[in-house]
Amino acid sequence: MNNKKKKIKRKMFFASSYEIRAIENFLEEEAEKGWMFERCSGMFYVFEECEPVKLKFQVDYFDKATIFDTNPESNTLDYIEYCSESGWQHVFSSGKMQIFYSVQDNPVPIQTDEKMKLKLVCKATILANWINWILLPLIWGLFNVREMVDELLNPNYYFAYSRSLTELSEVGFVVFWLAFTLLSIVNMARFGIFCFRNKRRLKNGLGIQYYSSKNIKKYGVFHQIYLISLLVLLAALFTKDHVSLYLMIEFIVTILMIFLISKMTYSKWANRKANIVIMLVFPIVVANALIFAFMGSISRGDAKLISGDAIYVYSTDDIDLTLEDLGVDKPDEFLYEETVHDKAKSFLGMREVYSDYYNTEDNSYGYSIEIFSSKYKSIMDTYNQLVLEDEYYTYTGLTATKNTWCSDQVLYGTGEDVSMYVVVQDGITFVIEGHLNQEQAAEVSSYYMNMASALTR
């Protein structure tokens, strides 16, 4: 056995799967410099040190192979055998893509029929790219559009929560999506031009014409600059908004996780059918589990992720306990009264927010109560811990104290401006904050506690 470790080099090369001439040239150049191609994934190519050699490379697509194959299936082996008989050594395969090299000066090309070759290349390219060219921008776009429509149809939305289009994070997400979609469209257009131009060329009896190496190199540089500047822009946007930054990181980590797990679970012993299940189902399950695990380290606001998206209700009638009920007089002049009833429920938990505020020119007065409940102890524990560690309260100078006015486990704090009361019961937690004194807070909590126990039963 040769124990000497060979030197390995990784190199990035931006070329779409239809730009096979460029990939072939790239691999040939590297071989001449003494680097033999070993494998690639996406735009990352791995080379092993070798004696400089003049080789001919050929990238081909074998229609019957799929990304779910681990070892080449018997059909693929037949095809590889045909190729090796005519001097083409198989080096690498990934999905339909097959890469061969030949030491001969003038070997017979693997595909001699240009029409069939163009068809194969186009089909393989569409299959390899439809997810990031069409599906991702579309789903992502639908989410964005839904959010925008929500905001446009419901003007109260602006006041209810600090979620508006003018907010940096929202702009960031939309910008990111637009930039991503634009890149997809440019890539698709390039591919479309390639297909249509060559279809016409073949009809006129000419051969396939690829984008020149220069053109592809230039486009690769554009690609890099585009992606880097986008990341810089996003980083600049998100440093001003920490919650969005966390969400963004969560998003990126999730995608990376799905990718990694899907790579790891891709097993050498499974057959094609088992791999389809393993590679598609398993990563999604694990990624979801990871999201929940990650949640604990994010923020209380993410309780929304457990309970689902909220339904907003803006009518005053929905607020069962108004400020007037608590003996608070309406101020003579106020800008608006803001009442929110925000309710969301999922199989994991329920979250409700009631609030009633008067906003005067230089102050606001009122209360809000957040009710969170779940059947699962671990979720409740995580939530309670998050509530007690919430940075906002330390920021406003609140210190938690053990309570005396309620037999349940209650913690509360009073600051200069606001007070916070937390009532922790079995499977349900109340967080009351606002401008209330202890008696008022006790009234609020007992009122909602009665209501909640009726609800959860």
């Binding site: 055998e81 045909y82 017979v108 595909q111 001699t112 029929d113």
Partner: protein, 103 residues
Amino acid sequence: MPREQLQTLTEPMYYILLALKEECCGVDIMKRIEVISHGRITVGPGTLYALLDKFQKAGLIIETRVEGRKRSYIISEKGYEVLKKEYYRLITMVEEGKTILER
């Protein structure tokens, strides 16, 4: 619709069918075509594999033997008809060309 596509044969299709007049294993077809066409036509292994698959599905050739990775084929009656039809079509074309070009 593969059958309609096979109504007129492309050059490599024509030569593959010619080569399969006698039983031949897939890999040797390439060599045989070079001999038949005096080196004028070459069929790449990828193209050959795809066309053999197409022919077999359309019933123009029959698989006769499998030895390890080596598969042998021979032209079927239907394939022979298609080949003959193409052959006569080509002869007609040549003769019609003759009346104009060799006057």
